[in-house]
């Protein structure tokens, strides 16, 4: 009986960690919204000024990589939850 409880607790912790990893990835939502916003604004800018498209693309990629940071933090937390429990 006691052994069963220990085993149960072990799997309980692991399952909750997996759930937590899934919940942590909700943070990817913000990064997606931010990147889409940057991409949309870049398309508008290219439409208004097509000759500057090279510079706009570079700026857009750098800005998107910046916006990706918060999503990557949640990804790191999810990896930690999965691989350390």
């Amino acid at each position: 009986m006691f052994l069963l409880a220990v085993e149960y607790n072990e799997f309980f912790i692991q399952g909750l960690a997996m759930l937590g990893a899934g919940i942590a990835m909700i943070g990817g939502l913000g990064a997606g919204i931010g990147q889409g916003f940057a991409g949309g604004k870049a398309v508008e800018a290219v439409g208004r000024q097509p000759e500057a498209s090279g510079k706009i693309t570079t700026t857009m990629l750098v800005g998107q990589a910046m916006a990706e940071t918060t999503g990557l933090y949640s990804l790191i937390i999810a990896f930690v939850l999965i691989f350390t429990t």
Binding site: L61, V62, A65, E68, T69, L72, Y73, L75, I76
Partner: protein, 214 residues
């Protein structure tokens, strides 16, 4: 020694060999004739980089160009290393955090060296002395974020590629992975992240060394 560190050393050796060969070729060039082929691309790229860095640093550009270009070349080689079967060096958190330490040291040492300690302290307390702790925290957190960004991107690329490989049966998986997964997660994200690290280091370094009054 972890496989990531081993592949980091291998990447350094490959980059050194490539750069020495390119340097020998550039030395032998005749400036009167137009350049051709890959040498033209290399010369054009270095020229663009110099112009880019000159725009940020003005008179100090010769001090920082070799350092920044070296970091960019190492990252560009290291992030595509998994294409030749090595483990991506930056997917180890020790190597990624050593890049944070590198950025922190570069920014602080050159800020103290070029701006002198007194002016640097004045810059840190710039809008008002009450903001000094906030500025100190931001000096610590930006390099940390730079290293963690590299780590997260490269690790997620490696994990997603491995997931693709384990998802599909091996005979089927060769085509979609080589056509879709490797170009996106190894070449695309890797090169973009190398350029982003280089660009952020350039911007924060130029913010640290230029006077706040000018």
């Amino acid at each position: 020694m972890s496989p990531n560190m081993l592949s980091s050393l291998i990447v350094i050796i490959i980059a050194m060999i490539v750069l020495i060969l390119l340097g020998k070729k550039v030395e032998k060039l005749d400036p009167a004739k137009p350049f051709k082929g890959p040498i033209f691309i290399v010369v054009l790229g270095i020229d663009k980089l110099n112009e880019f860095i000159k725009g940020f640093y003005g008179e100090h550009w010769r001090k920082f160009t070799p350092l920044l270009t070296g970091i960019l070349i190492y990252l560009a080689f290291a992030n595509v290393a998994s294409l030749i079967g090595l483990q991506t060096p930056l997917s180890n958190i020790n190597i990624a955090l050593s890049f944070s330490l590198l950025a922190f040291l570069i920014i602080q040492v050159s800020g103290l060296w070029i701006r002198t300690p007194k002016n640097r302290l004045k810059d840190l307390a710039s809008p008002s002395p009450l903001l000094l702790p906030v500025n100190l925290v931001s000096e610590l957190s930006t390099p940390l974020a730079m290293g963690l960004r590299l780590f997260g991107n490269l690790l997620s690329g490696a994990v997603i590629t491995v997931l693709f490989y384990s998802l599909l049966p091996s005979a089927l998986s060769v085509l979609p992975i080589t056509v879709i997964a490797h170009p996106i997660f190894n070449i695309g994200f890797g090169l973009i992240q190398a350029f982003v690290y280089f660009m952020l280091l350039t911007i924060f370094l130029s913010m640290a060394i230029e006077s706040s009054e000018a």
